[in-house]
């Protein structure tokens, strides 16, 4: 059972492979983020060079998959036909303190009508989407004890 109904666009790695380590990592239940091997700056979304020191030597490192809610929204008007019967759902922007406070979008699992507080601690929950082709895993979030 996935948080949102199936039928949404299917994420695949870019043709040039830039973000492949992220999607490969998610399938293995590992949260992978870019970190510059020269200056240590974390970077998300991925890019070919470090925005801080301009080095091309960038590593992918596994991050402890916990964070806090930076902002949130409850969507009442879905635009995609697959979500027509979905009802309201929660999208959150999560700040990752173990990765230089980079942020990522995810859904807050659980009751879609729950009260949400900015700053709440969350932990990742890896959600598999099995398909005949292009199976993928989304990094989702649950409230955690802070």
């Amino acid at each position: 059972m996935t948080y949102l109904a199936e039928g949404l666009p299917v994420p695949v790695a870019e043709d040039d492979g830039l973000d492949a380590p992220y999607w490969d990592g998610a399938r293995q239940r590992r949260l992978m983020i870019q970190r510059c091997s020269k200056c240590g700056t974390f970077q998300w979304g991925p890019e070919w060079l470090c925005h801080s020191c301009l080095s091309f030597e960038i590593d992918w490192v596994e991050i402890k998959p916990t964070g806090r809610i930076y902002s949130w929204e409850r969507v009442w008007h879905p635009t995609h036909p697959a979500l027509k019967e979905q009802g309201p759902y929660l999208v959150i922007l999560v700040e990752l303190p173990h990765a230089g406070n980079v942020r990522m979008i995810g859904n807050l699992l659980g009751d879609p009508l729950q009260a949400v507080q900015t700053g709440s601690a969350v932990a990742a929950d890896f959600e598999d989407h099995k398909r005949e082709d292009h199976s993928y895993t989304l990094v989702q979030w649950r409230l955690a004890k802070s």
């Binding site: 949404l8 695949v12 790695a13 902002s71 929204e73 995609h80 942020r103 990522m104 979008i105």
Partner: protein, 394 residues
């Protein structure tokens, strides 16, 4: 050394619009609407259409300059330009690019335009089916963050929380646009006033702050304006309006992927606005009317703060209907009805309204308006903005 700015070097000679329609209701094809708007702008200016020698537009404009030039029988096309990326954020940039070309002598008579039949091209219908996607969008589409309302509410919520701003501030913005549309017979929402009760009863699009009336419409129509060298004004039909400044771009890493702009809760004008005022040689308190692109009211709120009209902490107090309406408000705002209630021409209608105000021709006229500010985009990257003024402001 001559100052390297646009200030006073070019004028807006003419403005023109097609009829404006509800989405999908235009009986006229998109390209023909563009031609109608351009001919109307030339007529308004008192310029022979064959003097046009350039075109500038933005977003995903489909009416191509070379086809326009051929259709209009232009003897020569010297400049065609599309402001790169940012959708509606390129509107003021298109005028800035046209002004730069004219100021530099690359072209003499440049049309800034936008034509949209959103119904025919299924704009805003959303992605159907489940194609594969990659890159930036792949990090938010699968989470049901797909439409612009969904993309931008995240910024607005953070900003309003950070500064303790309530939803009544957004309601005042929506109501000001609708209020002005009731005086404007061209407006799609003419004759359809918005009350506080109707706003509050409207359905939520994205909680916590965005209701139906916080969101722009989708429409069909075309609009155009014509930029010429300042020396031409003595031969023009209309009172001249001059470009004092135009800015475009982003600040530091504002377009960082996957919602990672360092200054996230922003409309995207923090770097542009100071530059704009400095070039124009004016202050926020000098501006007689503001025409701010409303994709969503939350973006207008942040844009007004970033242009220095009030501090974020003063938003609840400043953003009342009374303060935002012509003729007597502190800052008459979107006096044609704007994207919410006149027509969603991706902000071109707001540029035209800025010109109309300075000519004294608005249907919600601000008395003795001399300076108008227009801002394109909020919350996209890049954004753009401009200040226009009457001859006495030069």
């Amino acid at each position: 050394m001559m100052e390297r700015t646009l200030r006073g070097k070019v004028a807006i000679a003419g403005i023109g619009e097609s009829l404006y329609y509800k989405r999908g209701n235009s009986p006229t094809p998109e390209f023909k609407l563009a031609l109608q708007a351009i001919l109307a702008a030339a007529e308004d200016a008192g310029i022979d259409v064959r003097q046009i020698d350039g075109f500038a537009s933005f977003a995903d404009e489909r009416s191509m300059p070379v086809r326009l030039a051929a259709a209009l029988g232009l003897p020569e096309l010297r400049f065609c330009n599309l402001a790169w990326d940012g959708g509606g954020g390129g509107g003021a940039a298109a005028l800035g690019n046209a002004a730069a070309a004219v100021a530099a002598g690359i072209a003499n008579c440049v049309v800034v335009y936008r034509s949209i039949t959103s119904g025919a091209f299924r704009r805003g219908v959303g992605l159907a089916g489940n194609p594969t996607i990659s890159g930036d969008r792949a990090t938010w589409y699968p989470h049901g963050m797909i439409s612009p309302a969904q993309m931008f509410a995240m910024k607005v919520n953070r900003f309003m929380q950070d500064h303790g701003i309530g939803s009544a501030a957004l309601r005042a913005i929506a109501m000001a646009s609708y209020h002005h549309a009731q005086m404007n017979p061209r407006a799609v929402m003419y004759g359809k006033p918005l009350t506080e009760e109707a706003y509050e009863a409207s359905r939520l699009i994205v909680e916590p702050f965005h209701r139906l009336f916080d969101c722009c419409m989708e429409n069909d129509g075309a609009s155009a304006l014509i930029v010429v060298p300042a020396e031409w004004v003595k031969n023009l039909r209309q009172k001249p309006v001059y470009v004092l400044a135009a800015a475009q771009g982003t600040g530091y890493r504002e377009a960082a992927r996957s919602h990672n702009a360092p200054l996230y809760a922003s409309a995207g004008f923090t770097s542009l606005a100071p530059r704009l005022y400095e070039t124009a040689g004016v202050k926020p308190t000098d501006i007689d009317t503001a025409q701010i692109y409303e994709n969503f009211t939350g973006g207008v709120l942040m844009a007004l703060v970033e242009h220095g009209f009030f501090k974020a902490e003063e938003a609840n107090e400043f953003l009342t209907l009374e303060n935002l309406v012509a003729p007597g408000g502190k800052l008459p705002f979107n006096t044609s009805g704007g994207n919410l209630a006149e027509c969603y021409m991706h902000g071109m209608g707001l540029q035209i309204e800025a010109i109309r105000q300075l000519r004294g021709h608005s249907t919600a006229q601000v008395p003795k308006a001399k300076l108008a500010l227009m801002a394109s985009g909020p919350m996209v990257a890049p954004t753009s903005n401009l200040i226009v003024g009457t001859a006495e402001t030069l």
